[in-house]
Amino acid sequence: MKSIKDLLSKITVENIKIELMRTAYGNKDTFMGKLDPRVAIVWYLIFAIIPWLFWNNTILLGFLLYMVVLLSISRVSPLIIILLAFGLVTEAGYIIFVSVMFGGDLTAAMALLTFTLKLTIISLASIAVFASMDPEKFSDALMSFRLPGQVCFGISYGYRMLPILIEEYNNIFNSFRLRGKVPEDRGVIHWKRVVYYCKTAVFAFYPMMLNTAKRTRTTVEALEVKGFTYSLKHEEVRKLKLSYLRVQPRDIYFFIFTIFLIITVIYIGHLYPIEREIHPL
């Protein structure tokens, strides 16, 4: 199957590195990227929770508008937003479609629209914050929220090891291909080939696990020598590591503005509500 082969060939080290570089060099100098990571995360948490508290479409639309404006100044590619919206809308579409089969009507559509609006706001908020956040800063922010040191370390470790591990997997996968045999008979919709590639992808994990185990041992030994365990046990190390994080005036202004905006939107929403009519049972 041609498309599968194409897809598999995409797991090249080069492509992954490019993705990583996008994350690494991506939109760091955007407005959201320059915020203190802790402030950004708190901001996100507010918008991950607040949409669940309102069923008033005016309020939700207000938040949506805020997100769209923020995203546009964060230079997030419009494609991402469109894809996201498309995904959420089709999902709602299926629910509406099936509910019509169960005797639903347009109230269902309205209800779902509100629901989808909530999900969209939350997703956009996460894109606004995390698409432009440096993984290192993210990990430090988590550390300052007192998440376990292992978790925070995991982020930067993944950042470091991903290309190596992908290359290794790629080599092993190719090792299978260089000695394997593609089924000559392709079967209906190439299913035999699909099975061949899936099986190979699974089989490749046997060598992968053993090789990674060997690799991990050196890493942990090196961590031990470099004082990683020591750092987990000593509070002053955490403070030293996080000493560079400082809340700037811009963070405070942004935060105050956001609170003000939330209050305004809620107020306007109450004045001019667009609400679903609730049919009595």
Binding site: T12, R160, P163, G180, Y206, E221, E224, Y230, K241
Partner: protein, 570 residues
């Protein structure tokens, strides 16, 4: 007090192990020493060095007797954290030792983890000492192997340790980068007063840089001598599978009597100035005749990778190359010259963006690698990536078994025998020694009955005896395979084995000729950053033409004027 590390009656057994890896070791290492630890595989070199920084007994909880004192601290009573400020360790697989995304993060990681307030200054200083400030903000995954090794060194240097232990620096690096590392170590030793301990079996580097040598065998220290004395023990070294520098070997064979042998190139040149030799000129070797139809041909091949801004980064543009029956091709050139990409293109794993690759009449551009592998075999640089089954025997059989080829038992048994794998055929490849892994990967390759065999760095990280074995296997390949292609940094291998050398530089073939052509072109060597083997440099210094490519050839075209009979002892 001048002693830095003192080991007293140290014995150690790994948990679950049956034998002592270290057996009553007694040794002392002084401050500001530059010591090499040598010995064959399994002699306990690495284990001893891990006892210096406390990983033994704190990380490996085995049975331990005796004691190790590092700078006044007993390793048993002090934690790894404390000891790591005294001794630092750079691993052989240093890539896995780098745990942070960027260079500066990496070099500040250790001092930061120990809560040192001046962690930034320490990182900066380490970078300056090794001349790495220019790559301070780079991501680790963008660096070359040589740079990564230096960063690994810098990251342990930031704790300002007394001693630095480096496990086989040359194994994973090309000769140019290896030399760079040694130059830095020399600097650290001389200018910063660091004690350096290397685990090494490349005696040319030992001769050039180390002051003392510790010889280990079967878990014991056999002797500890100044380098000059150590490398003069030619007979004993060879008995332990350690080969003295080519210069030393050559002079030793020319002058059997008890003279003090030179151990570096410059000493060798001086020596020959004072001990004139007469030259028995050898004829030029015959050039191989090319058969009209190539087995592999690349026509106008262009290939590249996407870059961040969706542009292309070209590895090759419009590359033409033909390989013929009987060719023993060595492809050389620095890292990133495109050697591996070229090999993978012949296997069909990488498809060219433009142009055609033909392999035994098949167009590799539209033939899946599964099909091409019936003609071509690719042997990975890291044999572990070839072990896809849980035993060597199954790995060798895999290719023909999935193709349901009948009556193969005898063929496989012969292969197993030929590569001396009988005792280990039921083991998983990952549990074998480096040499055994190489042998196995060769057997797996030949188990596919190829016409063309491609090898990526077949001699990397092999000890000298396994390397000899490898050379012998490559020699024997000509009976079963039409064309052999090797991508390598190992110039001794190139000089002694190849009949055709292709020099690549930034995706271009800058020279295609015999070993003689390549090694006599000094400008080319410079351009492609190739280090000619010591024996060739010695021959060039004597103006030998054609320059002898191996110690054998060198010895056979020189006659010591003192009149002594030269003896063949190897």
């Amino acid at each position: 007090m001048n002693t830095l590390i003192s080991v007293k009656d140290l014995s150690f057994k790994y948990p679950g192990g049956t034998e002592n890896i270290l057996n009553r070791v007694n040794v002392e290492i002084n401050k500001k020493d530059f010591t090499a630890v040598i010995g064959s595989n399994g002699s306990g070199k690495t284990t001893l060095c891990k006892a210096f920084n406390g990983l033994i007994p704190h990380f490996y909880v085995g049975d331990i007797k005796g004691e190790v004192i590092v700078d006044g601290l007993n390793t048993r009573e002090h934690s790894v954290s404390e000891l790591s400020k005294k001794t630092a360790y750079v691993y052989q697989d240093f890539e896995n030792q780098l745990v942070r995304p960027t260079v500066f993060d990496e070099v500040t990681f250790a001092p930061l983890s120990f809560g040192m307030k001046d962690f930034k200054e320490r990182g900066q200083l380490a970078l300056e000492m090794l001349d790495l400030t220019s790559i301070k903000d780079e991501f680790i995954w963008q660096l070359s192997g040589g740079q990564k090794h230096l960063v690994a060194l810098a990251s342990v240097l930031s704790l300002d340790p007394e001693a630095i232990i480096i496990d086989e620096p040359v194994a994973q690096l090309d000769p140019v980068n290896a030399k760079k590392i040694y130059e830095k170590l020399k600097l650290l030793n001389e200018a910063y007063g660091k004690t350096i301990i290397v685990i090494e079996h490349h005696t040319e580097f030992i001769g050039e840089y180390c002051k003392k040598v510790i010889m280990m065998d079967k878990g014991q220290v056999v002797w500890q001598k100044p380098t000059k004395d150590a490398l003069n023990n030619v007979g004993e070294l060879i008995e332990k599978d350690i080969f003295p520098p080519q210069v030393t070997q050559a002079i030793h064979r020319l002058y059997q009597n008890n003279i003090l042998l030179p151990i570096t190139l410059s000493e060798g040149i001086d020596f020959l100035k004072n001990h004139p030799v007469s030259i028995a000129q050898q004829p030029y070797p015959e050039k191989v005749k090319k058969l009209p139809t190539p087995i592999v041909s690349l026509e106008g091949v262009t290939h590249g990778y996407k870059t961040l801004n969706r542009g292309m980064n070209y590895v090759f543009t419009d590359l033409d190359l033909s390989l013929y029956e009987g060719d023993r091709v060595a492809i050389v050139g620095s890292n990133g010259a495109g050697k591996s990409t070229l090999l993978k293109m012949i296997t069909g794993i990488i498809k060219p963006k433009h142009g055609n690759v033909f392999v035994c009449g098949e167009n590799a551009g539209n033939t899946p690698p599964e099909k091409l592998s019936e003609k071509v075999t690719y042997i990975y640089q890291n044999p572990e990536e070839m072990f896809i089954e849980d035993s060597i025997r199954k790995d060798i059989e895999y290719f023909l078994k999935v193709r349901d080829v009948p009556d193969t038992e005898q063929f496989f048994s012969k292969l197993v025998e030929r590569f001396h794998l009988k005792e280990i055929e039921n083991k998983d490849g990952r549990l074998l020694s480096g040499g055994q892994q190489r042998r196995s990967s060769m057997a797996i390759g030949l188990g596919m009955r190829p016409q063309v065999i491609l090898l990526d760095e077949p001699t990397a990280s092999l000890d000298i005896s396994s390397r000899k074995e490898m050379l012998l296997m490559l020699e024997q390949l000509k009976d079963s395979v039409k064309t052999v292609v090797v991508a390598t940094h190992d110039m001794q291998l190139v000089a002694e084995w190849a009949n055709r050398v292709i020099v690549m530089d930034q995706g271009e073939i800058v020279k295609d000729g015999s070993s003689h052509d390549i090694f006599s072109d000094v400008a080319l060597l410079e351009k492609a950053s190739i280090q000619a083997p010591q024996i060739i440099k010695l021959g060039q210094a004597l103006n030998l033409n054609p320059v002898p490519l191996s110690v054998d050839a060198f010895v056979s075209c020189l006659v010591a004027e003192s009149g002594e009979e030269k003896l063949e002892i190897y």
